[in-house]
């Protein structure tokens, strides 16, 4: 193919961008070698930024896989699902899907759920701050969850695994062999992942749906202190 001058043919910004994008995406477009080198620099810069963001946003996964394997996964994900949002601190929502489809990782089936937990950690880190004024509770009202609160029920001990891979953590003597309900909350010390009994799930779902406290049954309500203690609920007072 004869190298073509993009500017000679593509006078409108939109048409030039479409042409350059094909180069950036590695399509077979004729271009001078110097321009190809430049495009490679831009592509590398963009992909490196995306991969760095994934490593920053998914540190537990990175520790589990090792830096080399994580870098390969991140690059594959960045090429298939590149960031659409300039806020790279919020990049990686779909990394769990890339993990689930990675055949070489099929023997580590818990990794996708770890990625989902880490995504909830990212969301918790940047969620809105809870109201500083305490809310008065009554039986007829719901007790709101804080904006940072999230959870994931898994067939794997995801909360224990997340905790064991925190900086400075020691590997527990006995990692649970059952699934866990991971609760993600944000306190003054940062985001915390803790394990709740699976029976707490209906309460979390009910609170997400803003159901009044009076409508919750006793089996749900017995988990309320654990949620309050974990910082999952907005500060409140009252006699409900």
């Amino acid at each position: 193919m004869r190298p073509e001058s993009p500017a000679g043919l593509l006078r409108s910004p939109a048409r030039f961008e479409a042409w350059f994008a094909r180069l950036l995406l590695g399509e077979a477009v004729a271009a001078a070698p110097a321009l190809r080198r430049a495009v490679a620099v831009h592509a590398n810069t963009a992909l490196a930024a995306a991969c760095d963001a994934l490593a920053s946003n998914f540190p537990v996964l990175c520790r589990m896989l090792g830096e080399e394997a994580f870098a390969a996964l991140a690059l594959r994900h960045a090429m298939a699902d590149p960031p659409a949002d300039p806020r790279l601190c919020l990049y990686g929502r779909h990394l769990a899907c890339s993990l689930a489809s990675a055949s070489e990782l099929a023997t580590w089936p818990w990794l996708a759920d770890i990625a989902r937990v880490e995504w909830l950690v990212v969301e918790a880190l940047f969620a809105a701050d809870p109201p500083t004024r305490r809310r008065r509770l009554t039986a007829g009202r719901s007790w709101p969850l804080t904006p940072a609160t999230g959870w994931l029920l898994s067939d794997w001990p995801i909360a224990s695994l997340w905790q064991a891979h925190q900086p400075g953590a020691t590997w527990p003597d006995d990692v649970p062999r059952h699934g866990e309900l991971a609760l993600i909350t944000r306190g003054d010390g940062g985001v915390v992942v803790s394990a709740l009994p699976p029976g707490a799930l209906p309460l979390l779902e009910a609170l997400r749906q803003r159901m009044p406290l009076a409508s919750l049954d006793a089996a749900m309500l017995r988990h309320l202190p654990a949620l309050a203690g974990a910082g999952a609920l907005v500060p409140a007072f009252g006699d409900a």
Partner: protein, 293 residues
């Protein structure tokens, strides 16, 4: 210019530092009383890292902004693009401006939205384009709309180039000058970008610098670069100390402009804060040697 812009806070800025996340918590914890900070130090942060609803990172920035002037430097407005950043992105930037009252607000002369099989890919880099009249008109429109939406004046950063895409109808300095004149925006001159571009395109960096319209220049960046492995290119990598060549270019520009806010950028291979502050002092000394024109 389409609307009324309020100029950002009238603060006389000297030498500043690009504040990266590993150093942010250290500063926020010091609550304005960090022992190593020279008086008058200001910081610039990447706006996108803080365009979030809440949380400790945003709180730390707000805490630092109580004690130091803050400049917001964006990599997401796609000001030279056929497609601008989404409106929600601009609205989030406006909210951040309201929270930290930046003394400067800047972004890049670049297009950044690539269509990949119908899905947008935001490329946080200076994607090049032919400097045509059509591109200038589009960029003027983008900058004017964005300034109107933000209610603030933008500084536009000159790009670094790795190849000449060709098809230009005007040189870069003329493009930037017309853009600034038409929109009331200013220029953020990244001297390292000039150095890297001149090397990569076989141009004279000093000559390029001398063509820039002095009156529009509102901020100057210095940063490090590195040679590309396997090609003769220099990469605008921000992962090394500022070279003597770049400091010399900064001095040359300052001799024309007089004192201007001078910022040290370092984005990778981050040394301890004290090392960066020592480099900032080089910039401060440079500014002290400059007489107001």
């Amino acid at each position: 210019m389409h609307g009324t812009l309020h100029r950002n806070r009238p603060v006389r800025l000297g030498a500043g530092l690009g504040l990266r996340l590993p150093h942010l918590a250290e500063l926020a914890a010091a609550d304005g009383d960090h022992p190593d900070l020279p008086p008058g130090l200001w910081f610039e942060v990447h706006a996108e890292n803080f365009m979030v609803a809440g949380g400790p990172r945003l709180a730390a920035l707000i805490a630092v902004a109580r004690c130091h002037p803050i400049s917001l430097h964006g990599v997401g407005l796609a000001l030279a693009g056929a497609r601008m950043a989404p409106r929600a992105h601009v609205q989030r930037l406006r909210r951040l401006c309201d929270l930290v009252s930046p003394v400067l607000l800047s972004d890049h002369l670049a297009w950044q939205r690539v269509d990949q099989a119908g899905a947008p890919w935001h490329v946080p880099d200076f994607l090049p384009f032919p400097r045509t009249r059509a591109a200038l008109a589009k960029t003027i429109d983008n900058v004017a709309r964005t300034q109107d939406a933000l209610g603030r004046r933008l500084l536009i950063e000159n790009p670094s180039h790795y190849a000449d895409v060709g098809g230009h109808e005007m040189p870069e300095h003329a493009f930037l000058a017309e853009l600034a004149h038409a929109t009331g925006s200013g220029l953020l001159v990244d001297v390292n970008n000039i150095h890297v571009s001149a090397h990569n395109l076989g141009l004279d960096a000093a000559w390029l610098l001398d063509q820039l319209p002095v009156s529009a220049i509102g901020e100057i960046h210095v940063a490090g670069h590195r040679p590309d492995g396997g090609s003769p290119l220099l990469i605008d990598s921000h992962d090394a100390p500022v070279t003597a060549s770049v400091w010399a270019l900064a001095a040359r520009l300052l001799a024309r402009t007089g004192p201007r806010p001078l910022l040290l950028e370092r984005d990778a291979e981050l040394p301890p804060l004290a090392d960066l502050l020592a480099e900032v002092r080089v910039g401060a000394a440079l500014l002290e040697s400059v007489d107001a024109p």
